[in-house]
């Protein structure tokens, strides 16, 4: 059993139940134990960085300090949190003045951090540590004939420094292939979903979501898989609005990659979070369930 320190992040406890549940469901069959970091706090997300940089680093540093005590790699399912932690680690290393300040902040609450936590995206852990060979040997229902658009979004691949190729990542495509499905050509795979723009100026955000949906549809995708709760929020939850606003003549189910894995591994469909999707996935995936 491989063990990781798991930082679910705030979204997984609220809007992205589907992600949380499906991760729980697939981890045991994959031989992975994601042990939740005790008393973790919010990473500050992109919003706090735009309000106060030092506070934002401090919020991340507390989690890193707690995780360091556990002595294991940190598994992060949300691409936003993933980037915040990677960035904090990097800046503590690159800029001594930030390190000095943050160490003072941690000291104030009886913590210390030596910069040793390896911050990893949960998707990357599943793909590289569990490995595609093992995953395909566990597949019970090959997803033959299913066309999948693999959406990586921004923060799993940028800024540079993750394990993925930044301009044309292929790991999710390979994962989907290992499940028996067909990853379609999807040139928008690393194009931004709009992040939190819908909150500030709805039109702009919805337009960015529309572009992704059209690109996937034009390339004959039956569904799209994502690796981030904010991407999911934008493309799934706001999809009915996008559809109405731009007169789209189609809908496209948006699944977390972990849900798709759950189907292929033949796991209980009731524990894969399908009920909390806004765009229902059943019409497309029911033949594999």
């Amino acid at each position: 059993m491989m063990e990781y320190i798991y930082y679910p992040g705030c979204s997984l406890k609220a809007t992205s139940k589907a992600y949380f549940e499906s991760i729980n469901t697939i981890s045991a069959p994959l031989g992975v134990n994601f042990k939740e970091l005790e008393d973790w706090n919010c990473c500050g997300a992109s919003l706090y960085m735009g309000i106060n940089e030092m506070n934002s680093f401090a919020l991340c540093a507390r989690n890193l300090a707690l995780a360091e005590k556990e002595g294991k790699d940190m598994a992060i399912p949300c691409s936003g949190c993933y980037t915040m932690f990677r960035k904090t680690n990097q800046y503590l290393k690159d800029y001594p003045e930030i390190k000095e300040k943050i160490y003072k902040v941690l000291e104030e609450v009886g913590l210390s951090y030596n910069g040793n936590v390896k911050v990893r995206h949960l998707a990357e852990i599943i793909i590289n540590d569990v490995g595609l060979e093992k995953i395909s040997s566990l597949v019970k229902r090959r997803l033959e004939g299913l066309n999948v658009a693999c959406y990586y979004g921004c923060l799993m691949v940028r800024p540079k420094g993750g394990v993925e190729d930044t301009e044309n990542p292929k790991s999710l495509d390979r994962l989907v292939t290992a499940l028996g499905a067909n990853p379609v050509f999807f040139p928008a795979k690393v194009r931004c979903c709009g992040g939190t723009l819908v909150g500030l100026g709805e039109d702009i955000g919805l337009r960015m979501v529309r572009n992704l949906l059209i690109c996937a549809k034009d390339n004959k995708a039956d569904l799209m898989v994502v690796t981030c709760p904010l991407c999911h929020m934008n493309i799934d939850v706001y999809q009915p609005r996008v559809k109405k606003k731009f007169n789209l003549g189609f809908t496209m189910p948006i699944l977390y990659f972990t849900q798709l894995m759950g189907i292929a591994l033949g796991l209980d469909k009731n524990s894969l979070g399908f009920k909390s999707l806004i765009v229902p996935a059943e019409p497309v995936v029911s033949k594999y369930l």
Partner: protein, 191 residues
């Protein structure tokens, strides 16, 4: 920072570029060759009043007011495409973050945007609970009137009925430590 001398020769106000240069790696901004790569790949530039390349030029020209009151800085989604692709290694995303912070502090953001309220609510939530839900917060701000009953809003109801909107955010055990940390971080400061 050789670039600054050139600007000084031309009589440009240097305060602003110096301010931006204090962020980690910020001094690289003088290396900009105005190639336009950032604007070309920015997913939001089509809606911006000034594109990222234009903003960089404006910062270097000392146009503080114009930059801080632009819509563009709030349309930056922090996607890091520009930062990754900039041939001169300029951390444009970090500069955008810094501009947001300066604009908030000096009250210079465009009136139509709900940035101040959104930021305040967010910070309050973290200070109170140690946790937040960004997507949920943004969702509430996307609604015309956040105080309306959730049942009046079709999307709100659909989220709620799908179990996506918990009534209370989770709270961490050590929430006082978060407050202590934030106080200290504010004291040691930085831009």
């Amino acid at each position: 920072m050789a670039g600054l001398d050139v600007l000084m020769e031309r009589g440009v106000a240097l305060d602003f570029i110096k301010e931006i240069s204090t962020i980690p790696g910020g001094e690289e901004i003088v290396q900009c060759i105005q190639c336009g790569t950032c604007s070309g790949c920015c997913p939001a530039s089509f809606m911006m009043d000034y594109t990222p390349r234009h903003l960089v030029a404006m910062i270097r020209a000392g146009l503080r007011e114009e930059v801080l009151s632009s819509q563009a800085i709030w349309l930056c989604t922090s996607c890091y495409t520009c930062t990754y692709r900039c041939p001169m290694g300029i951390k444009i995303t970090d500069i955008m973050y810094a501009l947001k912070r300066i604009a908030l502090r000096s009250g210079k953001y465009p009136r139509g945007l709900k940035v101040e309220k959104l930021s305040k609510e967010f910070v309050n939530m973290i200070n109170r609970y140690g946790r937040n839900h960004e997507a949920e917060l943004v969702f509430r701000f996307a609604m015309k009137n956040p105080f309306k009953s959730i049942k009046d809003i079709p999307l709100g109801w659909s989220l709620f009925s799908h179990g996506k909107l918990p009534l209370m955010p989770e709270k961490i055990k050590d929430v006082n430590k978060i407050k202590t940390m934030i106080q200290k971080a504010e004291e040691v400061g930085g831009l």
